[in-house]
Protein backbone atom coordinates (compact mmCIF):
# COMPACT_ATOMS: atom_id res chain seq x y z
CA UNK A 1 0.00 0.00 0.00
CA UNK A 2 1.47 3.38 -0.94
CA UNK A 3 1.45 5.90 1.87
CA UNK A 4 -1.00 8.87 1.84
CA UNK A 5 1.87 11.12 0.91
CA UNK A 6 2.74 9.07 -2.14
CA UNK A 7 -0.91 8.96 -3.17
CA UNK A 8 -1.18 12.76 -2.86
CA UNK A 9 1.92 13.20 -4.98
CA UNK A 10 0.44 10.92 -7.66
CA UNK A 11 -2.89 12.81 -7.80
CA UNK A 12 -1.03 16.13 -7.91
CA UNK A 13 0.97 14.83 -10.85
CA UNK A 14 -2.32 13.94 -12.48
CA UNK A 15 -3.79 17.39 -11.75
CA UNK A 16 -0.82 19.23 -13.22
CA UNK A 17 -0.36 17.13 -16.37
CA UNK A 18 -0.02 19.72 -19.18
CA UNK A 19 -3.21 20.29 -21.14
CA UNK A 20 -6.73 21.61 -20.67
CA UNK A 21 -9.07 20.31 -17.94
CA UNK A 22 -12.45 21.64 -16.78
CA UNK A 23 -12.26 24.48 -14.26
CA UNK A 24 -14.31 22.46 -11.81
CA UNK A 25 -11.57 19.82 -11.76
CA UNK A 26 -8.87 22.46 -11.30
CA UNK A 27 -10.19 23.20 -7.78
CA UNK A 28 -12.45 26.16 -8.50
CA UNK A 29 -15.64 24.26 -7.65
CA UNK A 30 -15.74 23.26 -3.98
CA UNK A 31 -19.31 22.58 -2.90
CA UNK A 32 -18.25 21.70 0.65
CA UNK A 33 -16.19 24.86 1.21
CA UNK A 34 -17.13 26.89 4.32
CA UNK A 35 -16.26 30.56 3.68
CA UNK A 36 -14.03 32.14 6.31
CA UNK A 37 -15.07 35.33 8.13
CA UNK A 38 -12.17 37.04 6.37
CA UNK A 39 -13.12 35.87 2.86
CA UNK A 40 -14.55 38.30 0.35
CA UNK A 41 -17.65 36.72 -1.18
CA UNK A 42 -19.09 37.66 -4.56
CA UNK A 43 -22.49 36.65 -5.81
CA UNK A 44 -22.76 36.42 -9.60
CA UNK A 45 -25.74 35.87 -11.87
CA UNK A 46 -24.55 33.61 -14.66
CA UNK A 47 -26.19 32.82 -17.98
CA UNK A 48 -24.10 29.89 -19.26
CA UNK A 49 -23.66 29.20 -22.96
CA UNK A 50 -25.83 26.30 -24.14
CA UNK A 51 -24.21 23.03 -23.11
CA UNK A 52 -22.11 24.50 -20.27
CA UNK A 53 -23.32 23.15 -16.96
CA UNK A 54 -23.82 25.72 -14.19
CA UNK A 55 -21.14 24.35 -11.84
CA UNK A 56 -18.53 24.49 -14.60
CA UNK A 57 -19.64 28.03 -15.48
CA UNK A 58 -19.36 29.07 -11.82
CA UNK A 59 -15.94 27.42 -11.54
CA UNK A 60 -14.83 29.24 -14.68
CA UNK A 61 -15.91 32.58 -13.19
CA UNK A 62 -14.06 31.75 -9.96
CA UNK A 63 -11.00 30.70 -11.94
CA UNK A 64 -10.87 33.66 -14.28
CA UNK A 65 -11.45 36.14 -11.45
CA UNK A 66 -8.60 34.66 -9.41
CA UNK A 67 -5.64 32.52 -10.38
CA UNK A 68 -6.63 30.49 -13.45
CA UNK A 69 -5.79 30.65 -17.09
CA UNK A 70 -7.23 28.44 -19.82
CA UNK A 71 -4.67 25.67 -19.48
CA UNK A 72 -2.76 23.93 -16.74
CA UNK A 73 0.48 25.67 -15.73
CA UNK A 74 3.15 23.99 -13.66
CA UNK A 75 4.07 27.33 -12.03
CA UNK A 76 0.93 26.98 -9.85
CA UNK A 77 2.98 24.47 -7.92
CA UNK A 78 5.39 27.19 -6.78
CA UNK A 79 2.53 28.83 -4.85
CA UNK A 80 0.06 28.04 -2.08
CA UNK A 81 -2.40 27.70 -4.93
CA UNK A 82 -5.09 26.02 -2.84
CA UNK A 83 -5.45 29.26 -0.90
CA UNK A 84 -5.24 31.68 -3.80
CA UNK A 85 -7.81 29.87 -5.92
CA UNK A 86 -11.25 31.43 -5.60
CA UNK A 87 -13.84 28.82 -4.69
CA UNK A 88 -17.29 28.60 -6.20
CA UNK A 89 -19.16 26.84 -3.40
CA UNK A 90 -22.84 27.21 -4.17
CA UNK A 91 -24.93 27.41 -7.34
CA UNK A 92 -28.70 27.89 -7.47
CA UNK A 93 -31.09 28.48 -10.34
CA UNK A 94 -32.54 32.01 -10.42
CA UNK A 95 -36.27 31.83 -9.68
CA UNK A 96 -38.16 32.45 -12.91
CA UNK A 97 -41.78 32.37 -13.77
CA UNK A 98 -42.56 29.12 -15.60
CA UNK A 99 -43.04 29.51 -19.32
CA UNK A 100 -41.21 32.86 -19.38
CA UNK A 101 -39.12 31.51 -22.24
CA UNK A 102 -35.99 33.07 -20.74
CA UNK A 103 -32.64 31.34 -20.81
CA UNK A 104 -31.81 29.67 -17.51
CA UNK A 105 -29.75 31.81 -15.13
CA UNK A 106 -27.89 30.75 -12.01
CA UNK A 107 -26.67 32.49 -8.88
CA UNK A 108 -23.12 31.47 -8.01
CA UNK A 109 -21.45 32.23 -4.68
CA UNK A 110 -17.67 32.57 -4.91
CA UNK A 111 -15.27 33.04 -2.00
CA UNK A 112 -11.91 34.80 -2.29
CA UNK A 113 -9.09 34.75 0.23
CA UNK A 114 -8.35 38.20 1.66
CA UNK A 115 -4.71 38.05 0.55
CA UNK A 116 -5.81 38.18 -3.08
CA UNK A 117 -6.49 41.90 -2.64
CA UNK A 118 -4.41 44.99 -2.01
CA UNK A 119 -5.53 46.84 1.13
CA UNK A 120 -7.43 50.08 0.55
CA UNK A 121 -7.76 49.85 -3.24
CA UNK A 122 -11.16 49.67 -4.93
CA UNK A 123 -9.32 49.56 -8.27
CA UNK A 124 -7.55 46.37 -7.26
CA UNK A 125 -10.78 44.77 -6.02
CA UNK A 126 -12.52 45.69 -9.27
CA UNK A 127 -9.64 44.49 -11.43
CA UNK A 128 -9.95 41.06 -9.82
CA UNK A 129 -13.69 40.63 -9.54
CA UNK A 130 -14.79 42.25 -12.80
CA UNK A 131 -11.44 42.43 -14.60
CA UNK A 132 -11.50 39.70 -17.24
CA UNK A 133 -14.35 37.46 -16.55
CA UNK A 134 -17.22 39.46 -18.07
CA UNK A 135 -15.98 38.75 -21.57
CA UNK A 136 -15.44 35.06 -21.02
CA UNK A 137 -16.81 33.02 -23.93
CA UNK A 138 -18.19 30.09 -21.95
CA UNK A 139 -20.77 32.36 -20.36
CA UNK A 140 -23.32 34.28 -22.31
CA UNK A 141 -23.96 36.99 -19.74
CA UNK A 142 -22.76 37.76 -16.25
CA UNK A 143 -23.83 40.14 -13.52
CA UNK A 144 -22.12 40.93 -10.25
CA UNK A 145 -25.11 41.03 -7.91
CA UNK A 146 -23.66 41.59 -4.47
CA UNK A 147 -20.53 41.28 -2.33
CA UNK A 148 -19.81 40.46 1.30
CA UNK A 149 -16.88 42.56 2.47
CA UNK A 150 -15.12 41.38 5.63
CA UNK A 151 -14.51 43.85 8.45
CA UNK A 152 -10.77 43.21 8.21
CA UNK A 153 -10.83 44.46 4.62
CA UNK A 154 -13.15 47.44 5.24
CA UNK A 155 -10.78 48.66 7.93
CA UNK A 156 -8.17 49.28 5.22
CA UNK A 157 -10.40 51.97 3.66
CA UNK A 158 -10.88 55.56 4.82
CA UNK A 159 -14.59 55.57 4.03
CA UNK A 160 -16.70 58.71 3.58
CA UNK A 161 -14.64 61.84 4.16
CA UNK A 162 -17.35 63.52 6.25
CA UNK A 163 -20.37 61.23 6.69
CA UNK A 164 -23.98 62.06 7.47
CA UNK A 165 -23.42 62.90 11.15
CA UNK A 166 -20.63 65.44 10.67
CA UNK A 167 -22.16 66.85 7.49
CA UNK A 168 -25.31 67.70 9.42
CA UNK A 169 -23.33 69.19 12.30
CA UNK A 170 -21.29 71.35 9.92
CA UNK A 171 -24.40 72.55 8.12
CA UNK A 172 -26.40 72.89 11.37
CA UNK A 173 -29.35 71.05 9.78
CA UNK A 174 -31.03 68.22 11.66
CA UNK A 175 -34.14 66.12 11.55
CA UNK A 176 -35.23 66.67 7.97
CA UNK A 177 -34.03 65.78 4.46
CA UNK A 178 -31.75 68.37 2.89
CA UNK A 179 -33.10 70.14 -0.16
CA UNK A 180 -31.24 70.71 -3.38
CA UNK A 181 -31.68 71.50 -7.04
CA UNK A 182 -29.63 71.07 -10.16
CA UNK A 183 -29.15 74.25 -12.14
CA UNK A 184 -31.07 74.17 -15.42
CA UNK A 185 -30.58 74.39 -18.32
CA UNK A 186 -27.71 71.96 -17.80
CA UNK A 187 -25.66 73.56 -20.52
CA UNK A 188 -25.35 76.97 -22.09
CA UNK A 189 -25.78 79.43 -19.22
CA UNK A 190 -23.06 82.01 -18.73
CA UNK A 191 -21.46 82.02 -15.28
CA UNK A 192 -23.23 85.24 -14.33
CA UNK A 193 -26.68 83.88 -15.24
CA UNK A 194 -25.86 80.53 -13.69
CA UNK A 195 -25.09 82.19 -10.34
CA UNK A 196 -28.48 83.93 -10.53
CA UNK A 197 -30.23 80.55 -10.44
CA UNK A 198 -28.09 79.48 -7.50
CA UNK A 199 -28.85 82.64 -5.51
CA UNK A 200 -32.61 82.52 -6.13
CA UNK A 201 -32.93 78.84 -5.20
CA UNK A 202 -30.87 79.16 -2.01
CA UNK A 203 -32.55 82.34 -0.83
CA UNK A 204 -35.94 80.72 -1.47
CA UNK A 205 -35.15 77.93 0.98
CA UNK A 206 -32.96 75.22 -0.54
CA UNK A 207 -29.82 74.07 1.27
CA UNK A 208 -27.81 73.17 -1.82
CA UNK A 209 -27.70 73.83 -5.51
CA UNK A 210 -25.74 71.53 -7.77
CA UNK A 211 -23.73 71.57 -10.97
CA UNK A 212 -24.87 68.89 -13.34
CA UNK A 213 -22.63 65.98 -14.26
CA UNK A 214 -21.57 67.47 -17.57
CA UNK A 215 -20.90 71.01 -16.35
CA UNK A 216 -17.11 71.18 -16.26
CA UNK A 217 -15.41 73.96 -18.25
CA UNK A 218 -17.01 74.63 -21.62
CA UNK A 219 -16.68 77.57 -24.00
CA UNK A 220 -19.85 79.22 -22.65
CA UNK A 221 -18.70 79.03 -19.01
CA UNK A 222 -15.15 78.62 -17.78
CA UNK A 223 -14.92 76.79 -14.46
CA UNK A 224 -13.26 79.66 -12.57
CA UNK A 225 -16.02 82.06 -13.58
CA UNK A 226 -18.63 79.56 -12.45
CA UNK A 227 -16.96 79.06 -9.09
CA UNK A 228 -16.65 82.81 -8.45
CA UNK A 229 -20.27 83.62 -9.31
CA UNK A 230 -21.64 80.59 -7.47
CA UNK A 231 -19.82 81.53 -4.28
CA UNK A 232 -21.15 85.08 -4.51
CA UNK A 233 -24.62 83.52 -4.76
CA UNK A 234 -24.02 81.12 -1.85
CA UNK A 235 -22.78 83.86 0.47
CA UNK A 236 -25.52 86.32 -0.51
CA UNK A 237 -28.13 83.65 0.22
CA UNK A 238 -26.50 82.72 3.54
CA UNK A 239 -26.65 86.37 4.61
CA UNK A 240 -30.26 86.66 3.46
CA UNK A 241 -31.43 83.64 5.48
CA UNK A 242 -28.97 83.09 8.33
CA UNK A 243 -28.42 79.51 7.21
CA UNK A 244 -25.37 77.64 5.95
CA UNK A 245 -25.79 77.21 2.19
CA UNK A 246 -23.76 75.36 -0.42
CA UNK A 247 -23.29 74.71 -4.09
CA UNK A 248 -21.75 71.45 -5.34
CA UNK A 249 -18.93 72.77 -7.49
CA UNK A 250 -18.17 70.02 -10.00
CA UNK A 251 -14.38 69.64 -10.14
CA UNK A 252 -14.44 66.79 -12.68
CA UNK A 253 -11.71 67.41 -15.26
CA UNK A 254 -9.47 65.63 -17.75
CA UNK A 255 -6.59 65.01 -15.38
CA UNK A 256 -6.11 64.52 -11.65
CA UNK A 257 -3.92 67.65 -11.53
CA UNK A 258 -6.74 69.77 -12.93
CA UNK A 259 -9.23 68.25 -10.47
CA UNK A 260 -6.97 69.15 -7.55
CA UNK A 261 -6.52 72.68 -8.91
CA UNK A 262 -10.28 73.17 -9.13
CA UNK A 263 -10.89 71.66 -5.70
CA UNK A 264 -8.24 73.93 -4.15
CA UNK A 265 -9.86 76.95 -5.77
CA UNK A 266 -13.28 75.91 -4.42
CA UNK A 267 -11.73 75.60 -0.96
CA UNK A 268 -10.06 79.00 -1.21
CA UNK A 269 -13.47 80.54 -1.96
CA UNK A 270 -15.00 78.99 1.16
CA UNK A 271 -17.18 76.31 -0.45
CA UNK A 272 -18.38 73.60 1.95
CA UNK A 273 -18.75 70.99 -0.80
CA UNK A 274 -17.25 69.85 -4.10
CA UNK A 275 -18.50 67.28 -6.54
CA UNK A 276 -17.13 64.67 -8.93
CA UNK A 277 -18.65 62.27 -11.46
CA UNK A 278 -18.48 58.48 -11.27
CA UNK A 279 -16.88 58.42 -14.72
CA UNK A 280 -13.60 59.81 -13.29
CA UNK A 281 -12.85 56.29 -12.09
CA UNK A 282 -12.37 54.51 -8.80
CA UNK A 283 -8.81 55.67 -8.15
CA UNK A 284 -9.60 59.32 -8.83
CA UNK A 285 -12.62 59.03 -6.53
CA UNK A 286 -10.47 57.62 -3.73
CA UNK A 287 -7.91 60.37 -4.24
CA UNK A 288 -10.59 63.04 -4.03
CA UNK A 289 -12.03 61.42 -0.90
CA UNK A 290 -8.61 61.67 0.77
CA UNK A 291 -8.33 65.27 -0.38
CA UNK A 292 -11.82 66.00 0.99
CA UNK A 293 -10.94 64.50 4.39
CA UNK A 294 -7.75 66.58 4.57
CA UNK A 295 -9.58 69.76 3.60
CA UNK A 296 -12.82 69.51 5.63
CA UNK A 297 -14.84 69.26 2.43
CA UNK A 298 -18.03 67.32 1.76
CA UNK A 299 -17.63 65.17 -1.38
CA UNK A 300 -20.64 64.74 -3.66
CA UNK A 301 -20.59 61.96 -6.27
CA UNK A 302 -22.90 61.98 -9.29
CA UNK A 303 -23.38 58.43 -10.60
CA UNK A 304 -22.85 59.50 -14.22
CA UNK A 305 -22.59 56.45 -16.45
CA UNK A 306 -23.80 53.87 -13.97
CA UNK A 307 -26.88 52.84 -15.90
CA UNK A 308 -24.69 51.57 -18.74
CA UNK A 309 -23.91 48.54 -16.59
CA UNK A 310 -26.32 48.60 -13.63
CA UNK A 311 -29.75 48.67 -15.20
CA UNK A 312 -30.17 45.39 -17.08
CA UNK A 313 -30.54 42.38 -14.89
CA UNK A 314 -28.65 39.80 -16.91
CA UNK A 315 -25.32 41.54 -17.43
CA UNK A 316 -23.18 44.11 -15.66
CA UNK A 317 -22.84 45.22 -12.04
CA UNK A 318 -25.72 45.81 -9.69
CA UNK A 319 -25.85 49.33 -8.31
CA UNK A 320 -25.79 47.90 -4.79
CA UNK A 321 -22.21 46.81 -5.45
CA UNK A 322 -21.37 50.32 -6.66
CA UNK A 323 -22.90 51.66 -3.42
CA UNK A 324 -20.58 49.40 -1.43
CA UNK A 325 -17.51 50.34 -3.43
CA UNK A 326 -18.31 54.05 -3.17
CA UNK A 327 -18.79 53.87 0.60
CA UNK A 328 -15.36 52.25 0.78
CA UNK A 329 -13.89 54.76 -1.69
CA UNK A 330 -15.06 57.54 0.59
CA UNK A 331 -17.73 59.75 -0.98
CA UNK A 332 -20.24 61.61 1.21
CA UNK A 333 -23.17 61.89 -1.23
CA UNK A 334 -24.29 59.42 -3.86
CA UNK A 335 -27.29 59.54 -6.20
CA UNK A 336 -29.23 56.39 -5.38
CA UNK A 337 -32.73 56.71 -6.84
CA UNK A 338 -36.01 58.44 -6.09
CA UNK A 339 -38.57 55.62 -6.46
CA UNK A 340 -41.16 58.13 -7.76
CA UNK A 341 -39.09 60.26 -10.18
CA UNK A 342 -38.12 59.93 -13.83
CA UNK A 343 -35.15 57.53 -13.42
CA UNK A 344 -35.01 53.77 -12.88
CA UNK A 345 -35.77 52.64 -9.33
CA UNK A 346 -37.88 49.83 -7.96
CA UNK A 347 -38.88 50.72 -4.35
CA UNK A 348 -37.45 47.53 -2.85
CA UNK A 349 -34.18 47.78 -4.75
CA UNK A 350 -33.83 51.46 -3.81
CA UNK A 351 -34.34 50.60 -0.14
CA UNK A 352 -31.49 48.10 -0.46
CA UNK A 353 -29.23 50.81 -1.93
CA UNK A 354 -30.18 53.35 0.76
CA UNK A 355 -29.63 50.88 3.59
CA UNK A 356 -26.26 49.94 2.13
CA UNK A 357 -25.20 53.58 2.12
CA UNK A 358 -26.66 54.66 5.45
CA UNK A 359 -26.73 51.82 7.97
CA UNK A 360 -23.98 50.63 10.31
CA UNK A 361 -25.08 47.06 9.75
CA UNK A 362 -27.41 45.54 7.17
CA UNK A 363 -28.98 42.09 7.59
CA UNK A 364 -29.40 39.89 4.52
CA UNK A 365 -32.74 40.69 2.87
CA UNK A 366 -33.50 39.01 -0.43
CA UNK A 367 -36.55 41.15 -1.18
CA UNK A 368 -34.28 44.22 -1.08
CA UNK A 369 -31.57 42.52 -3.11
CA UNK A 370 -29.22 42.24 -0.13
CA UNK A 371 -27.80 38.72 -0.27
CA UNK A 372 -25.36 39.05 2.62
CA UNK A 373 -25.31 40.38 6.13
CA UNK A 374 -22.86 43.28 6.13
CA UNK A 375 -21.14 44.96 9.07
CA UNK A 376 -19.82 48.36 7.94
CA UNK A 377 -17.01 48.46 10.50
CA UNK A 378 -17.78 52.07 11.53
CA UNK A 379 -17.18 53.49 8.06
CA UNK A 380 -19.14 56.76 7.97
CA UNK A 381 -22.65 56.84 6.59
CA UNK A 382 -23.14 58.08 3.01
CA UNK A 383 -25.99 60.56 2.37
CA UNK A 384 -28.08 59.24 -0.55
CA UNK A 385 -29.32 61.78 -3.06
CA UNK A 386 -32.72 61.56 -4.77
CA UNK A 387 -32.75 63.48 -8.01
CA UNK A 388 -34.65 63.42 -11.27
CA UNK A 389 -38.27 64.31 -11.98
CA UNK A 390 -39.50 64.89 -8.41
CA UNK A 391 -41.72 67.72 -7.16
CA UNK A 392 -43.33 69.10 -4.00
CA UNK A 393 -46.58 67.18 -4.55
CA UNK A 394 -44.70 63.91 -3.95
CA UNK A 395 -43.21 64.99 -0.61
CA UNK A 396 -45.14 62.42 1.43
CA UNK A 397 -44.05 59.58 -0.85
CA UNK A 398 -40.44 60.74 -0.83
CA UNK A 399 -40.36 60.91 2.97
CA UNK A 400 -42.07 57.52 3.25
CA UNK A 401 -39.75 55.69 0.85
CA UNK A 402 -36.48 57.51 1.47
CA UNK A 403 -36.56 58.64 5.12
CA UNK A 404 -34.99 61.82 6.45
CA UNK A 405 -31.28 61.25 5.83
CA UNK A 406 -31.33 62.06 2.14
CA UNK A 407 -30.87 65.05 -0.14
CA UNK A 408 -34.04 65.64 -2.17
CA UNK A 409 -33.18 67.46 -5.36
CA UNK A 410 -35.88 69.30 -7.20
CA UNK A 411 -34.33 70.81 -10.34
CA UNK A 412 -37.25 71.36 -12.70
CA UNK A 413 -39.48 71.27 -9.60
CA UNK A 414 -37.78 74.44 -8.35
CA UNK A 415 -36.67 76.32 -11.44
CA UNK A 416 -39.83 75.58 -13.42
CA UNK A 417 -42.16 77.16 -10.85
CA UNK A 418 -44.53 79.67 -12.52
CA UNK A 419 -43.80 82.34 -9.87
CA UNK A 420 -40.04 82.04 -10.16
CA UNK A 421 -37.13 80.16 -8.67
CA UNK A 422 -37.38 81.54 -5.13
CA UNK A 423 -41.05 80.61 -5.00
CA UNK A 424 -40.22 77.14 -6.31
CA UNK A 425 -37.66 76.64 -3.57
CA UNK A 426 -40.05 77.97 -0.92
CA UNK A 427 -42.79 75.59 -2.07
CA UNK A 428 -40.46 72.63 -1.63
CA UNK A 429 -39.23 73.76 1.77
CA UNK A 430 -42.71 74.44 3.13
CA UNK A 431 -43.96 71.08 1.83
CA UNK A 432 -40.99 69.35 3.47
CA UNK A 433 -41.30 71.04 6.86
CA UNK A 434 -45.07 70.47 6.94
CA UNK A 435 -44.53 66.78 6.19
CA UNK A 436 -41.84 66.34 8.87
CA UNK A 437 -44.01 68.12 11.43
CA UNK A 438 -46.94 65.83 10.57
CA UNK A 439 -44.85 62.65 10.60
CA UNK A 440 -43.44 63.54 14.02
CA UNK A 441 -47.00 64.17 15.26
CA UNK A 442 -47.70 60.54 14.47
CA UNK A 443 -49.74 61.04 11.32
CA UNK A 444 -49.68 58.49 8.50
CA UNK A 445 -47.99 60.68 5.90
CA UNK A 446 -48.28 58.24 3.00
CA UNK A 447 -52.07 58.16 3.34
CA UNK A 448 -52.70 61.70 4.59
CA UNK A 449 -49.94 63.34 2.53
CA UNK A 450 -52.15 65.10 -0.02
CA UNK A 451 -54.26 66.59 2.83
CA UNK A 452 -51.17 67.70 4.72
CA UNK A 453 -49.90 69.47 1.59
CA UNK A 454 -53.28 71.10 0.95
CA UNK A 455 -53.34 72.40 4.49
CA UNK A 456 -49.79 73.76 4.28
CA UNK A 457 -50.63 75.44 0.96
CA UNK A 458 -53.25 77.55 2.75
CA UNK A 459 -50.55 79.70 4.31
CA UNK A 460 -48.12 79.45 1.35
CA UNK A 461 -49.12 80.60 -2.14
CA UNK A 462 -45.96 79.25 -3.81
CA UNK A 463 -46.85 75.75 -2.57
CA UNK A 464 -50.45 76.21 -3.75
CA UNK A 465 -49.18 77.06 -7.23
CA UNK A 466 -46.65 74.19 -7.26
CA UNK A 467 -49.34 71.67 -6.35
CA UNK A 468 -51.64 72.99 -9.08
CA UNK A 469 -48.87 72.99 -11.70
CA UNK A 470 -47.51 69.48 -11.19
CA UNK A 471 -50.43 67.65 -9.61
CA UNK A 472 -50.78 65.08 -12.39
CA UNK A 473 -47.11 64.43 -13.10
CA UNK A 474 -46.01 60.87 -12.39
CA UNK A 475 -43.48 58.55 -14.02
CA UNK A 476 -45.21 55.24 -13.71
CA UNK A 477 -43.12 52.80 -15.75
CA UNK A 478 -42.10 49.23 -15.03
CA UNK A 479 -38.62 48.94 -13.48
CA UNK A 480 -36.08 46.69 -15.17
CA UNK A 481 -33.90 46.09 -12.09
CA UNK A 482 -36.27 44.32 -9.70
CA UNK A 483 -36.03 41.78 -6.88
CA UNK A 484 -35.75 38.09 -7.79
CA UNK A 485 -37.40 37.18 -4.52
CA UNK A 486 -40.71 38.67 -3.44
CA UNK A 487 -41.98 38.39 0.12
CA UNK A 488 -44.80 35.92 0.54
CA UNK A 489 -47.86 37.59 2.03
CA UNK A 490 -48.67 36.20 5.45
CA UNK A 491 -52.23 34.83 5.42
CA UNK A 492 -54.61 37.07 7.30
CA UNK A 493 -52.61 40.28 6.85
Amino acid sequence: MPSDKVQAARSAAERYRPGVIPYRDMGYWQPHYQPLDTDIIALFRITPQPGVDPEEAAAAVAGESSTATWTVVWTDRLTASEIYRAKAYRVEPVPMSPGSGMEPQYFAWIAYDLDLFEPGSVANLAASIIGNVFGFKAIKALRLEDMRLPVAYLKTFQGPATGIVVERERLDKFGRPLLGATTKPKLGLSARNYGRVVYEALKGGLDFVKDDENINSQPFMHWRDRFLYCMEAVNRAAAATGEVKGHYLNVTAGTMEEMYERAEFAKSLGSVIVMIDLVVGYTAIQSMAKWARRNDMILHLHRAGNSTYARQKNHGISFRVICKWMRMAGVDHLHAGTVVGKLEGDPRMVKGFYDTLRERHTPASLEHGLYFEQDWASLNRVMPVASGGIHAGQMHQLLHYLGEDVVLQFGGGTIGHPMGIQAGATANRVALEAMILARNEGRDVLREGPDILEQAARHCTPLRVALDTWKDVTFDYQSTDTADYVPTATPGT
Binding site: G175, G204, A239, E433
Partner: protein, 144 residues
Protein backbone atom coordinates in the same frame (compact mmCIF):
# COMPACT_ATOMS: atom_id res chain seq x y z
CA UNK B 1 -35.42 93.95 7.62
CA UNK B 2 -34.79 90.50 6.20
CA UNK B 3 -36.17 90.06 2.67
CA UNK B 4 -36.45 86.26 2.48
CA UNK B 5 -39.62 84.21 2.87
CA UNK B 6 -41.13 85.01 6.27
CA UNK B 7 -38.60 87.83 6.82
CA UNK B 8 -36.82 85.71 9.40
CA UNK B 9 -33.83 83.53 10.09
CA UNK B 10 -34.64 80.08 8.72
CA UNK B 11 -32.45 77.85 10.87
CA UNK B 12 -34.04 74.74 12.40
CA UNK B 13 -36.64 72.27 11.18
CA UNK B 14 -39.76 74.43 11.08
CA UNK B 15 -38.86 78.06 10.29
CA UNK B 16 -40.92 78.04 7.08
CA UNK B 17 -44.12 77.19 8.97
CA UNK B 18 -46.21 79.50 11.14
CA UNK B 19 -44.82 79.62 14.71
CA UNK B 20 -45.58 76.35 16.48
CA UNK B 21 -48.32 76.39 19.10
CA UNK B 22 -47.67 74.82 22.50
CA UNK B 23 -49.73 71.79 21.42
CA UNK B 24 -47.54 71.37 18.32
CA UNK B 25 -44.38 71.71 20.42
CA UNK B 26 -45.67 69.04 22.81
CA UNK B 27 -46.18 66.63 19.91
CA UNK B 28 -42.60 67.18 18.71
CA UNK B 29 -41.26 66.67 22.23
CA UNK B 30 -43.19 63.42 22.48
CA UNK B 31 -41.62 62.25 19.21
CA UNK B 32 -38.15 62.87 20.64
CA UNK B 33 -38.87 61.28 24.01
CA UNK B 34 -40.43 58.20 22.40
CA UNK B 35 -37.08 57.63 20.70
CA UNK B 36 -35.12 58.02 23.91
CA UNK B 37 -33.50 61.29 22.87
CA UNK B 38 -32.54 63.90 25.47
CA UNK B 39 -34.10 67.33 24.98
CA UNK B 40 -32.03 70.45 25.50
CA UNK B 41 -33.08 74.11 25.51
CA UNK B 42 -30.62 76.72 24.24
CA UNK B 43 -30.82 80.48 23.73
CA UNK B 44 -28.70 83.14 22.08
CA UNK B 45 -28.58 86.71 20.84
CA UNK B 46 -25.94 85.81 18.22
CA UNK B 47 -27.75 83.93 15.42
CA UNK B 48 -24.69 83.62 13.15
CA UNK B 49 -25.13 80.30 11.30
CA UNK B 50 -21.72 79.10 12.58
CA UNK B 51 -22.48 79.98 16.17
CA UNK B 52 -22.62 76.37 17.33
CA UNK B 53 -22.66 76.90 21.06
CA UNK B 54 -25.82 78.68 22.10
CA UNK B 55 -26.13 79.06 25.88
CA UNK B 56 -27.79 76.13 27.60
CA UNK B 57 -30.87 76.75 29.70
CA UNK B 58 -29.89 74.18 32.31
CA UNK B 59 -28.53 70.76 31.39
CA UNK B 60 -29.99 68.44 28.74
CA UNK B 61 -33.04 66.81 30.33
CA UNK B 62 -31.79 63.22 30.19
CA UNK B 63 -34.21 61.99 32.83
CA UNK B 64 -37.29 64.09 32.15
CA UNK B 65 -39.68 61.91 30.15
CA UNK B 66 -42.78 64.11 30.30
CA UNK B 67 -43.36 66.53 27.39
CA UNK B 68 -45.42 68.85 29.61
CA UNK B 69 -42.48 69.17 32.02
CA UNK B 70 -40.19 70.13 29.15
CA UNK B 71 -42.70 72.67 27.86
CA UNK B 72 -42.66 74.26 31.33
CA UNK B 73 -38.87 74.59 31.01
CA UNK B 74 -39.27 76.13 27.54
CA UNK B 75 -41.72 78.66 28.94
CA UNK B 76 -39.32 79.37 31.79
CA UNK B 77 -36.62 80.13 29.23
CA UNK B 78 -39.04 82.29 27.25
CA UNK B 79 -39.83 84.42 30.32
CA UNK B 80 -36.15 84.76 31.21
CA UNK B 81 -35.07 85.61 27.62
CA UNK B 82 -38.20 86.87 25.83
CA UNK B 83 -36.28 88.66 23.10
CA UNK B 84 -33.68 85.96 22.31
CA UNK B 85 -33.61 83.07 19.89
CA UNK B 86 -34.52 79.87 21.72
CA UNK B 87 -34.15 76.45 20.14
CA UNK B 88 -35.03 72.96 21.23
CA UNK B 89 -32.61 70.18 20.29
CA UNK B 90 -33.04 66.45 20.79
CA UNK B 91 -29.84 64.51 21.28
CA UNK B 92 -29.42 60.86 20.31
CA UNK B 93 -26.69 59.05 22.25
CA UNK B 94 -26.96 55.84 20.17
CA UNK B 95 -23.63 54.54 18.89
CA UNK B 96 -22.97 55.80 15.39
CA UNK B 97 -25.20 58.89 15.86
CA UNK B 98 -24.20 60.66 19.09
CA UNK B 99 -25.50 63.92 17.63
CA UNK B 100 -28.64 66.08 17.59
CA UNK B 101 -31.49 64.47 15.64
CA UNK B 102 -33.90 67.40 15.91
CA UNK B 103 -33.47 71.16 16.25
CA UNK B 104 -36.16 73.81 15.96
CA UNK B 105 -36.69 77.40 17.02
CA UNK B 106 -39.42 78.13 19.60
CA UNK B 107 -38.77 81.81 20.31
CA UNK B 108 -37.45 84.79 18.34
CA UNK B 109 -36.70 88.45 18.93
CA UNK B 110 -39.57 90.78 17.97
CA UNK B 111 -37.45 92.28 15.22
CA UNK B 112 -34.94 90.29 13.13
CA UNK B 113 -32.58 92.64 11.29
CA UNK B 114 -30.57 89.79 9.72
CA UNK B 115 -26.99 89.82 8.48
CA UNK B 116 -24.50 92.08 6.80
CA UNK B 117 -22.47 90.46 4.00
CA UNK B 118 -18.96 91.87 4.02
CA UNK B 119 -16.90 91.44 0.86
CA UNK B 120 -13.16 91.83 1.02
CA UNK B 121 -11.82 92.06 -2.52
CA UNK B 122 -8.62 90.10 -3.04
CA UNK B 123 -6.34 89.36 -5.99
CA UNK B 124 -7.63 87.59 -9.10
CA UNK B 125 -11.26 88.65 -8.62
CA UNK B 126 -11.35 86.53 -5.50
CA UNK B 127 -13.58 87.77 -2.70
CA UNK B 128 -13.39 86.80 0.96
CA UNK B 129 -16.89 86.76 2.37
CA UNK B 130 -17.88 87.34 5.97
CA UNK B 131 -21.39 87.30 7.39
CA UNK B 132 -22.08 89.40 10.48
CA UNK B 133 -25.39 89.70 12.33
CA UNK B 134 -26.34 93.38 12.59
CA UNK B 135 -27.35 92.72 16.20
CA UNK B 136 -23.87 91.65 17.31
CA UNK B 137 -22.54 95.18 16.85
CA UNK B 138 -23.82 95.61 20.41
CA UNK B 139 -22.49 93.68 23.44
CA UNK B 140 -24.02 90.38 24.54
CA UNK B 141 -27.28 90.84 26.41
CA UNK B 142 -28.04 94.23 24.83
CA UNK B 143 -28.68 93.13 21.27
CA UNK B 144 -32.39 92.81 20.67
Amino acid sequence: MMTNYGNRITQGQFSFLPDLTDAQILAQLKYALDRGWAVNIEYTDDPHPRNTYWDMYGLPMFDLRDPAGILREINGCRSAFPNSYIRVTAFDSTRGWETPRMSFIVNRPRHEPGFRLVREEAAGRRIRYTIAPYATDKPEGERY
